[in-house]
Every structure is written in structure tokens, then in C-alpha cells.
């Protein structure tokens, strides 16, 4: 089933990349739709964060993950570096779980 999901996801992704080059789409999207689509990636990726922070591995967090996530937000906002954020987050979660 994993293979079906991989191939299906590959096809879906390629369609989003190629359709505007294959079809003759002249009409522009209405502004409301454009705003919706522009916000979509941020929303989906943030939605992946929610469950991972409040219930990592399916169990209610003991506090390490939300604190570490806040640290990642601060680090990335300050340094503008994904790598710095990931290192800070991983180190923080490892330390906080010891407490």
C-alpha cells in the first residue's frame, strides 16, 4: 500500500506542477481563491505540527515538545536558519525529556 501511496502522490504532485503548461488556462483565478491557495501550504504544514506537539506518538505530551517547539520558533525567527532551529529543537527535546 505504501507503493501505491508513493506513486499516487508522485502523480498528484506532477499534475500540480505541469497542468498550467499543458492546458490553455487564460483566465486568472479570483483573488479570494488565490489568497486561499497561498495560505494553504503554511496551514497544512502547521497542521502537521499540532498533533506532533500535543500528542507525540499518540500520547499526551509531558511538556518537552511544546517547549522545544517554542524554542524552534524563536530560533528560526531570530537566525532565519532552518538548521539552527532544528538543532536547537532536537537538543532541547532531548534535555527536557531527561527532566
Amino acid at each position: 500500500m505504501i507503493w501505491l501511496a508513493i506513486v499516487g502522490s508522485a502523480v498528484a504532485t506532477y499534475l500540480t506542477r505541469s497542468l498550467p503548461f499543458a492546458l490553455n488556462v487564460r483566465r486568472r483565478l479570483p483573488p479570494a481563491a488565490t489568497r486561499y491557495f497561498e495560505a494553504l501550504p503554511v496551514a497544512i504544514i502547521a497542521a502537521l505540527v499540532g498533533p506532533a506537539v500535543v500528542a507525540p506518538g499518540g500520547m499526551l505530551t509531558q511538556g518537552a515538545e511544546p517547549l522545544a517547539a517554542a524554542l524552534v520558533v524563536a530560533t528560526v525567527a531570530w537566525r532565519r536558519s532552518l538548521l539552527a532551529g532544528v538543532i536547537a529543537g532536537v537538543a532541547a527535546v532531548a534535555l527536557l525529556r531527561l527532566v
Binding site: S9, I45, A46, P56
Partner: protein
């Protein structure tokens, strides 16, 4: 092409992280390699790993990936005038390598007056090669780390998502969208609906951006 180095560096780091995380989540090296070769979309691949480890149904995985990637339609539509000068086979092949990063680079190239697709193709294919090589490096590394929870490595995927969101915020409403999406998905997951949590919250929250214009 010199301005592309920071993007290439980030691609390598995120690619290695992806390989490590996917391996730790129990995916086979061949499956992870296939994802980077065929899907070639960082956020989607991370999302797939998370959904696989939660046992999500195949249609749900595909639908989530489709939603994450709908933004490509907007990017491709904006590059269309430049791509349409190339023959169909060539532009449809070039489309496979379209990412946020190659879109940004191509847009700045065309805005500076460039017309050739060569710049875009060179950069986009270089990112594809780097992404796949670093995925392989991550797979090798991920197979050697014994107990991921002990070193916090399992949190790398979440930290990566958090960082991507922070870097993607451009307007105040983006922050509201991100917070609402994370909160709704978190509540749904606590209520036991973890596999549909992501697509439900992710599809609802952008409605905020439709009504708030800041």
C-alpha cells in the same frame, strides 16, 4: 547562479534530515529513495512519513500531498509565459523539477530580463540531484542511530515543520492561519482523529486568509 548557494545548502541539510527521519520511522531505503526520486517535494515527503507511521489510508496520503502541492499550480501559472516558448516535451519535463526554490530563482532571473529556460533547468535539476544524494546520505545515517527518542531525533521532523512555517510567514494573517491550523489539528488528534486531523485543519485554516487581507 552564485546566489543559489544558500538554497543548495539548505536542500542538503533538509534532505539528510528527511532520510534520517524516514529511516527512523521504519520505512525501507528503497521506499525512501523512491519518494525523493518520484515525488521530489520536501514538505510532502515529510508529511507522507508522518502519515505512514500513523497508518493513514492511501487515499488520505495522496489527498494530503495534493493539498500541500496545490501551490505549484499558482507558481506554474506565473511562469507560463516563459515556459510556453519551449517545445511541449521540453516544458513538461522542466515542470517536473518545479519547487518553491527553483520558482523563486527563475522568477528573479526572468524579472532581471532573462528569457532562457536554461537558468531555471540548471538550478532546478541541480536541486533534484542534491536532494536525492542527501536523502541517500540521510538513509545511511538513519540506519546507524540506535534509539531515536533518546537523542531527540524523532523531534527533528516536527522542528523542521515549525521552521518551514516560521520562514514562510510573510503577512500577519499567515501567523493566524498557522496557529489555527496547528490548534485545530492538535485538538482533533487528542480526540482520536489523528489521520484526518491534518487535512481537515489544513483545508479549513486558509479560509482566514480569504477574509483577512493583512
Amino acid at each position: 547562479m552564485g546566489e543559489g548557494w544558500p538554497v543548495m545548502g539548505t536542500t542538503i541539510v533538509v534532505g539528510i534530515t528527511f532520510g534520517v527521519v524516514a529511516r527512523q520511522a521504519g520505512l525501507e531505503p528503497i521506499e525512501i529513495t523512491a519518494m525523493s526520486l518520484l515525488v521530489f517535494a520536501g514538505a510532502s515527503e515529510f508529511a507522507m512519513v508522518r502519515l505512514f507511521s500513523e497508518g493513514a489510508a492511501t487515499p488520505l496520503v495522496i489527498a494530503t500531498v495534493l493539498f500541500i502541492n496545490l501551490r505549484h499550480l499558482l507558481m506554474a501559472a506565473s511562469l507560463r509565459p516563459y515556459f510556453m516558448r519551449a517545445p511541449p516535451a521540453r516544458r513538461l519535463a522542466a515542470a517536473f523539477f518545479l519547487t518553491d526554490e527553483s520558482f523563486a530563482m527563475a522568477t528573479s532571473h526572468f524579472r532581471r530580463g532573462g528569457t532562457s529556460l536554461v537558468y531555471y533547468v540548471t538550478f532546478a535539476v541541480a536541486l533534484f540531484v542534491l536532494w536525492n544524494l542527501s536523502t541517500l546520505a540521510g538513509i545511511a545515517l538513519g540506519s546507524t542511530i540506535g534509539e531515536p527518542r533518546r537523542y531527540g531525533v524523532d523531534f527533528a521532523i516536527t522542528a523542521t515543520f515549525v521552521g518551514i512555517v516560521v520562514l514562510a510567514v510573510r503577512r500577519p494573517v499567515d501567523i493566524a492561519v498557522a496557529v489555527v491550523a496547528a490548534a485545530v489539528a492538535g485538538v482533533l488528534a487528542l480526540a482520536g482523529a489523528s489521520t484526518v486531523a491534518v487535512i481537515t485543519a489544513g483545508a479549513l485554516a486558509p479560509a482566514l486568509a480569504v477574509f483577512v487581507r493583512k
